[in-house]
């Protein structure tokens, strides 16, 4: 990958991001990838090789449901939406993430203080 300015995703966070984006409204795979890129201001770029397995994994776990529908341009695409279980999982995982990043932030902050 040539773009060094783009960050790699920490392990396991892709699922959370996908859930979050789908929570904004049902969408197809391509749009989900684009949204993640837009919202992160091009920092996060999700490759198809990760995105689609993630979508299928989430569908298999019952957090997402895929439906074939027409897009505005009249093409057939598979739209994903959150299930009740998916919503719950998104809530839990978001909390987890906040706790985790908070904790990491604390440690890094202390670390910086010690170094000075």
């Amino acid at each position: 990958m040539p773009a060094s300015s783009k960050s790699d995703l920490p392990q396991g966070t892709l699922d959370l991001l996908v859930l979050r984006v789908v929570a904004l409204g049902p969408n197809h795979g391509y749009a989900i990838g684009q949204r993640i890129q837009q919202i992160s201001r091009d920092v996060l770029q999700v490759h198809q090789g990760s995105l689609y397995p993630a979508l299928h994994r989430l569908e298999n776990r019952g957090l997402l449901v895929g439906e074939w529908k027409e897009t505005e341009t009249g093409r057939n695409a598979k739209f994903y939406r959150l299930t009740a279980q998916g919503k719950k999982s998104l809530r839990d995982e978001t909390e987890n993430w906040a706790r985790l990043t908070g904790a990491i932030g604390l440690i890094l902050g202390t670390d910086a203080g010690l170094a000075e």
């Binding site: 795979g29 198809q48 689609y52 397995p53 993630a54 299928h56």
Partner: protein, 881 residues
């Protein structure tokens, strides 16, 4: 989800993933073009961006968890490839499995239909029970009515009685056939209905109703050529016109292989509570009721009836007995033979398993390298075990399919042999039942086949799978797969398996040996009388024509007198039980003896006429025979056999002693012992039992066996015999015979011969399998030790030394197996005891023969590998190293 369904769904999913990715791809191109790229340029960038499309798809598939099925398919394909690569091994393994599984399925099917079956075409045979009185035979119509109205454990209950009849038509045609008289609910209870015409209704059993008849399919076919117009026609039954109202389905035979059913008409004679001549009651258990409930309830009802009708219903022997089909119709001796057969083929299957485990172990050593490579490449232990178990169950599954074919053929062959030997007659212990058993594979037999097919695969696959999954990968890879056999206990496993095989084969051989010895002895066994030149027939006088005992006695008097007058005949006499036939036991009491309360001992009581012992060539030992003086008016007399005399009056003169017998709680008058008879075999055994004979003249019966002794072959008397019966009563039919007793006995022994021969077949198969097993193990060890043998030869061992080496190792497992088998066969053979005649279950001749056979095949199993070992070329062997 089924396997196929999953595959189809998989295909659909695959297509969806394709479409989804395609959409993404095209959307991307559109976006690029909208941003100003040319189409060609857009396509190129997107293709680069996308990378390997197949990889993406693969990962989607993994994310869905489809790999389990994929890898299973992979294992199956792998196993198939393995089988194709080793066709010789596969063929041997499948052939052994097919034989083992095939004979197991055969014997299970046969045993299943004999022991757990019932009458053919009955719905839910497992819910049908039979009710009889404590004496084992016969019930009263009046009791049946009370049982039926009072018992709650049954859905319904029906009464059955069989009679011989003369059937005929308007043109004067007459023939003797069997009819069964049934209550009108009988067919509804069995769950069957006539295929033509109508079922019986309660109106048909009213006294005075037009007699109605329902034909069996077989009689309809034979006599009426399946003419549907027979329904509504008239036939003559005992010269009374009867309306044919229906035809039962093909194969429906109940309870014997008879020709027609008629309603059991409740005549005043039948209604008498003391009339206990009706055959039996059968019933369907109510939903939720168990046979234990039914037993308890019927016993309570029986006691209640005993109180209400003390004259006719008091006494233990008259309590109703609820029994299963097996208890009622199959004796314990036949049941034990079938169980032993099931055990025997189970042994054969175990030997097959041991053989295959050994073959697979030997092969496993050859595959150690391959497996190590797979493990080194990341295959988990469980994956390896699963792979090997799939291979072994595929082998056993194939064996099961072929075994099914073998079983289908063998069951048909068995049915032919069994019917030829009158097996079902023997099982049913009487002459009424003729080939009613249906030996077809039902769902239970198929379930059994499936379970043993898969089960054997798991059993024999386990040892090699366990062994291979614990390989030391690096060591195996280093020394090319040869260093894997020597580890610890596992080294002894093949030997232990062969020991087990030999022990099992020996037990089977010993069992077959005693059965066959018993069969050979039976012909020369001492039955206590001379079987030659005896002609027997059973005559049952109809109650309507012979109501009074005097008339019955007069008939048999006239018949025996006429028979004695026939040219060539030197004796004729009657008894209610033919020699060797079954008897009924009655409790008895000695005069002055058994003062203590407790239960009374029972003895078989036979009713015999004058000259019975002389006719059988068994002269009385002491006292006198029954004679004209033993009239109804005189004091009742009895003749006891030697066993009875020795058991009850040891060292005393039995003549003049007194005893009495009981029917229920009612005692007979005191019987004076007037004679001592030699022991005569009864009840199908050759061990003599105590017997008491009472005088026919002092207690006539309607059904008797008539026996003549002649100077000419008895077959030549049959026509004269029939003519004599007809000259006294032209309307009378002979229920059984006349038949030569010696021929009849031979026919009944054939049954024991058939089962003995079957055991021998199983034992020989077991022995062959065990010797193949031994051969394989010895040959494998010779192969493995070729370098060692080469070294031994190089340093001076002679061919004889090598042979000794191989034999010493090779004969050790059979020797240990023989010892174990000897110890085990004596308790195991005891199972057969009830079926053995004058042979001990530890018969030394059989054991010696079995040992010799085992040693012989063990030597055979070692000879070929030993030859090969002796021909090892030391130079070549050492170079190989």
């Amino acid at each position: 989800m089924t396997w196929v369904g999953r595959l189809i769904r998989r295909n659909q999913l695959e297509k969806q993933v394709d479409a989804e990715l395609q959409f993404d791809y095209e959307q991307r191109i559109e976006d690029r073009m909208r941003a100003g790229m040319s189409e060609a340029e857009a396509r190129r960038t997107v293709r680069l961006e996308f990378g390997d499309l197949e990889l993406v798809k693969e990962e989607c598939r993994d994310a869905r968890g489809l790999q389990a099925l994929d890898s299973l398919l992979q294992d199956v394909c792998y196993a198939l490839r393995g089988m194709r690569r080793a066709p010789g091994f596969t063929a041997v393994a499948v052939a052994m499995l097919a034989v083992g599984i095939g004979i197991n399925a055969t014997v299970f099917t046969v045993t299943n239909s004999v022991l757990f079956g019932g009458f053919p075409l009955f719905e839910r045979n497992d819910r049908i029970v039979y009710i009889t009185s404590g004496t084992g035979c016969c019930v009263s119509w009046a009791d049946y009515q009370d049982w039926k109205s009072q018992a709650k454990s049954f859905k319904d209950m029906a009464l059955v009685h069989g009679v011989p009849v003369v059937l005929g038509d308007r043109d004067g045609f007459r023939e003797s056939r069997d009819a069964t008289l049934v209550t009108s609910n009988t067919f509804r209870l069995t769950g069957q209905r006539p295929i033509l015409g109508r079922d019986f209704t309660p109106a048909d059993e009213m006294p005075g109703a037009t007699p109605a008849a329902i034909l069996s399919y077989a009689y309809w076919e034979r006599r009426y050529a399946k003419d549907p117009n027979v329904v509504g026609s008239t036939m003559w039954v005992n010269d009374v016109p009867a309306a044919v109202i229906g035809v039962m389905p093909r194969g429906f035979t109940f309870p014997q292989n008879q020709d027609l059913w008629m309603p059991l008409v409740a005549s005043p004679e039948l209604r008498k509570r003391s009339n206990r001549d009706t055959w039996f009651v059968f019933a369907r258990l109510a939903d939720g009721a168990t046979i234990a409930n039914a037993r308890a309830e019927m016993e309570t009802i029986g006691r209640r009836l005993g109180k209400a009708y003390p004259l006719t219903n008091q006494g233990r022997n008259l309590l109703p007995h609820v029994v299963t089909f097996q208890d009622f119709f199959i004796g314990s001796s036949a049941a034990s033979i079938y169980r032993a057969m099931l055990g025997a083929v189970g042994f054969v299957l175990l030997i097959v398993c041991a053989n295959l485990a050994n073959l697979l172990l030997a092969r496993a050593m050859g595959r150690a390298h391959e497996i190590s490579v797979r493990m080194a490449l990341g295959a988990g232990r469980w994956r390896i075990i699963r792979q090997l178990l799939i291979e072994s169950t595929m082998l056993s599954g194939l064996g099961g399919i072929l075994g099914w074919g073998i079983a289908r053929w063998a069951i048909r062959a068995y049915a032919v042999v069994a019917n030829g030997a009158g097996l079902s007659d023997q099982i049913f212990g009487g002459r009424w039942f003729d080939n009613v058993l249906d030996y077809s594979m039902d769902y239970r037999a198929f379930a059994y086949l499936a379970v043993i097919s898969i089960g054997t695969g798991l059993i024999f696959g386990l040892a090699p799978a366990h062994r291979l999954s614990r390989l030391d990968v690096s060591a195996t890879l280093k020394d090319g797969g040869r260093g894997t056999h020597g580890s610890g206990r596992a080294r002894y496993l093949p030997g232990v398996l062969v020991i087990g095989e030999m022990a099992l084969a020996f037990v089977l051989l010993a069992g077959a040996g005693v059965m066959i010895r018993s069969f050979l002895k039976i012909d020369t066994a001492n039955l206590g009388f001379k079987t030659e030149n005896l002609l027997t027939a059973r005559i049952a006088l109809p109650a309507r024509a012979y109501p009074r005992p005097e008339a019955q006695a007069e008939f048999f008097d006239r018949l025996t007198t006429q028979l004695k007058a026939l040219p060539g005949v030197d004796g004729a006499a009657i008894c209610d039980s033919a020699p060797t036939a079954n008897t009924s036991n009655l409790p008895y009491e000695l005069d002055g003896g058994s003062a203590a309360g407790g239960s009374r001992p029972a003895v078989a009581v036979l009713t015999a006429g004058q000259g019975w012992f002389r006719t059988l060539g068994a002269a009385l030992i002491a006292g006198r025979d029954f004679n004209e003086g033993d009239s109804a008016a005189a004091a009742p007399s009895a003749i006891v056999n030697q066993r009875f005399a020795n058991a009850n009056w040891p060292g005393e003169n039995p003549i003049g002693k007194r005893l009495r017998v009981f029917s229920g709680d009612t005692a007979s008058r005191w019987l004076n012992v007037v004679g001592v008879a030699p022991n005569i075999a009864q009840n199908g055994r050759t061990e003599f039992e105590p017997l008491v004979y009472v005088s026919y003249r002092q207690g006539p019966l309607r059904g008797m066996w008539v026996v003549t002794h002649s100077r000419i072959p008895p077959d030549r008397l049959i026509t004269d015999f029939r003519r004599a019966v007809r000259s006294i009563d032209a309307s009378l039919t002979i229920a059984v015979g006349p038949v030569s007793l010696a021929e009849d006995l031979a026919r009944s022994y054939q049954y024991k011969g058939v089962s003995g021969a079957l055991f021998l077949v199983f034992a020989v198969i077991a022995l062959l399998l065990a010797s193949i097993g031994l051969y394989a193990v010895v040959a494998h060890s010779v192969n493995r030790r070729t370098p060692e043998i080469g070294v031994r030869m190089a340093i001076g061992a002679t061919a004889g030394d090598i042979r000794k080496l191989i034999f010493r190792r090779g004969m050790l497992p059979p020797a240990i197996g023989l010892a174990i088998g000897l110890a085990a066969c004596i308790p195991v053979n005891r199972v057969l005891k009830s079926a053995l005649v004058q042979v001990s279950s530890a018969d030394p001749v059989s054991l010696a023969a079995a040992s010799a056979a085992l040693v012989f095949v063990a030597i055979l199993g070692c000879v070929i590998p030993a030859r090969r070992a002796m021909r090892v070329n030391p130079v070549a062997a050492l170079r190989q190293e």
